[in-house]
């Protein structure tokens, strides 16, 4: 008798998700589905509104990455009104953005993805959380995490006008600048952030890399997919979160395409499947071949490991050293090891801190000229940014008064959605045999997608929202025969 196991919703990821695993008569995995109860209609909701509302409105899509949406939207407005921000505003935007990336990535390591390694993938669930992490690394370190996060968020509050939802982005620049004193203060916090980033990488090295079973898990076959990769690079093909060209490399690491954001429709296409609301992105020229990896499949990946894979290096020295270390251990570039996303994320934390220092040390960021006023009539605007969870594109079309006629958003997790499905299915097939599904096994399946830090555009806050993990087993007639719940 075949049966269906549902993990719904998945715990400890940003937003809500559900996994259905179908077992065959022998208790082996027949198929696994990763589904997202996506909330539709945001793009339609925006149409008919003034385009300049978008930087603040699009933040409402998601309570997790408001700064990414704010700046992708602001850049789309630059493009819409054909106006470039002055150098000072551009740098200040990038500084604010690196502060956001630092905080978001750090939170993921200590609170969301880290517990699987710091505490152990098969440890009791009561311990696999931030409380367990603090128990392992100590109260003082816990205090430091809270403190540095708060101080880095203060950088964002100083620049963006709000500690959470930026209100500073305007077409052609920013609504205000910072003072020389504020610049110095930001530089001081950024230096502290770098020290803590290095400390965190040391924690990762001590706890994960010195543990052979963890390293085996990272480099092993279960969490491994040979795919294309995509991310933003600067003019030297180095990682850049704020701006640059979109670069795609093939599974051998060879450059496949490199293009500007406005050309995205020539390279990326969406695929709809009947069992989910998610629109899966894939490479148009390669085509959709189903949920398979390899050079013949158009599935690609984004976010930290992908960004490192598509680049020729990091633009800052200490991040570059960590980048080299990562690829040395993983056996060269590109690295196809899904769990290495956690490591790549920490390399990016170092980069974000170093880049904050560079920008805060530049006196120009405290300049007075923060905006070039738009002079041209609006038409069409496309903005791109590297969100923590991958490449994010905002595309607006307006009438001559700047009223939105059409909105298209390609959100970060959409790029990774097909790969996440493959990763979940592969982990399920590897760990579930003869119908044995323990709590530890389920967590090992969850780890396959937690590495991506997926976010599902779910900004509801209603209680109870995230429910305990539910496992439901159905027979062939879809009759519920077993119900398990993690309380």
């Amino acid at each position: 008798m075949s049966r269906k196991i549902t993990i719904d919703p998945v715990t400890r990821l940003e937003g809500h998700g559900k996994i259905d695993i179908f077992l065959d008569d022998q208790g082996e995995v027949e198929r696994a589905y990763f589904q997202v109860p996506e909330f539709r209609g945001f793009e339609k909701f925006c149409e008919g509104r003034a385009a300049e509302e978008m930087p603040t409105l699009t933040q409402k899509i998601c309570g997790v990455c408001p700064t990414a949406h704010h700046l992708a939207s602001t850049k789309a407005l630059d493009s819409l009104y054909q106006v470039e921000p002055p150098p000072a505003a551009r740098k200040l935007r990038e500084l604010m953005y690196n502060a956001f990336m630092f905080e978001d990535h750090l939170l993921h390591f200590y609170f969301l993805g880290g517990p699987d390694f710091v505490i152990g993938p098969e440890a009791p669930k009561e311990q696999r959380n931030i409380l367990g992490v603090i128990g392992k690394v100590g109260v003082e370190i816990g205090k430091k995490v809270i403190s540095i996060r708060k101080r880095v968020r203060d950088i964002n509050a100083t620049i963006s006008g709000s500690s959470l939802y930026p209100v500073c982005g305007l077409p052609g620049g920013l609504s205000k600048g910072i003072t020389a004193e504020q610049r110095k203060k930001i530089a001081e916090i950024a230096r502290e952030a770098l020290e803590f980033a290095k400390f965190t990488l040391q924690v990762f090295a001590d706890i994960v890399l010195k543990n052979k079973s963890y390293v085996d898990l990272i480099v092993g076959d279960v969490y491994y997919h040979k795919t294309y990769y995509m991310g933003l690079v600067d003019e030297h093909n180095k990682v850049n979160f704020y701006d640059g060209k979109i670069r795609i490399v093939d599974p051998e690491g060879k450059e496949f395409r490199k293009f500007s954001a406005p050309e995205y429709l020539s390279f990326l296409e969406e695929r709809v499947e009947p069992w989910t609301y998610t629109r899966f992105l894939y490479l148009k020229e390669i085509g959709w071949k189903g949920f398979i990896d390899g050079k013949e499949s158009g599935i690609y990946r984004v976010a930290p490991l992908a960004r490192l894979n598509v680049s020729d290096g990091m633009a800052t020295p200490q991040a570059q050293a960590e980048y080299e270390k990562l690829f040395n251990v993983l056996g060269g570039k590109p690295a196809h090891n899904t769990l290495a996303y956690h490591w790549a994320r920490l390399v990016e934390v170092v980069y974000a801190a170093e880049r904050m220092i560079e920008l805060a040390n530049d006196e120009e960021v405290a300049g007075a000229h923060m905006r070039n006023r738009p002079q041209n009539p609006p038409q069409e605007g496309i903005g791109v940014i590297e969100a923590p969870r991958g490449t994010l594109i905002h595309h607006y079309q307006t009438d001559e008064n700047g009223i939105l006629q059409k909105v298209n958003l390609l959100v970060a997790t959409q790029n990774n959605a097909a790969a996440i499905c493959m990763s979940v299915e592969k982990a399920a097939r590897s760990f579930i045999h003869q119908g044995v599904v323990s709590e530890g096994i389920l967590n090992m399946v969850e780890m396959a997608f937690r590495a991506y830090d997926p976010c599902f555009a779910c900004a509801t806050h209603s209680l109870p929202g995230e429910m305990p993990l539910v496992v439901q087993i159905y027979d062939k007639e879809n009759k519920l025969i077993r119900h398990l719940q993690r309380d």
Binding site: E14, G15, F39, R40, G41, F42, K44, F45, L57, K60, G63, V64, L107, F111, L112, N129, I130, L131, I134, V139, G142, K143, I146, R149, K150, S163, L164, Y165, C458, A459, T460, H461, S462, L463, P464, G465, E466, M467, P468, D487
Partner: protein
């Protein structure tokens, strides 16, 4: 005088999910602002925790989407009830009891009194403005109940 913070939690463009935000906007007009601080918040987890630091009392107003209660039903949980639940409070990052336990572990200065008020809602599955009819009808009584509790303790 004890410092009280009233937090309206929700997403202002997702129909009934906005009820916490709408509630605090109305309370701002009705309550003495020199006694209470009021904030509209759309993020939970660490951000919510950091907002609560250094207050004596925090009232959180949120939307509830549970099975088994009719739209308009009023939920109320105090700190003790909250801490005794395994995972009663949702967030996109971490649930509130875990956050509060972490705060205790790290000796953070969290409020002695935390109360969560929730109004059972009908829809939050699409983007849009405006509350559903039943939630809108329940709102005045919901506000009266909250106003009574916060004023009595002020």
């Amino acid at each position: 005088m004890a410092k009280t913070l009233i937090i309206g939690l929700g997403n202002s463009v997702r129909h009934d999910d906005a009820v916490g935000i709408i509630a605090v906007r109305k309370l701002r007009e009705r309550l003495n602002n020199s006694v209470f601080e009021i904030q509209e918040v759309s993020e939970t987890g660490l951000h919510l925790l950091s907002l609560m630091e250094d207050y004596d009392r925090v009232i959180i107003i949120d939307s509830f989407a549970t099975a088994g209660y009719a739209p308009g039903y009023i939920h109320r949980y105090d700190f003790q009830q909250l801490m005794s639940m395994s995972q009663p409070y949702a967030s996109h990052q971490l649930n509130l009891p875990t956050m509060l336990r972490m705060a205790q572990l790290l000796h953070m200065n969290i409020p002695k009194t935390i109360v969560i008020y929730g109004l059972e809602i009908e829809r939050n599955d699409a983007f849009g403005e405006g509350l559903s009819l039943k939630v809108n009808q329940a709102l005045p009584h919901f506000l009266t109940v909250i106003e009574k509790e916060v004023s009595e303790c002020a």
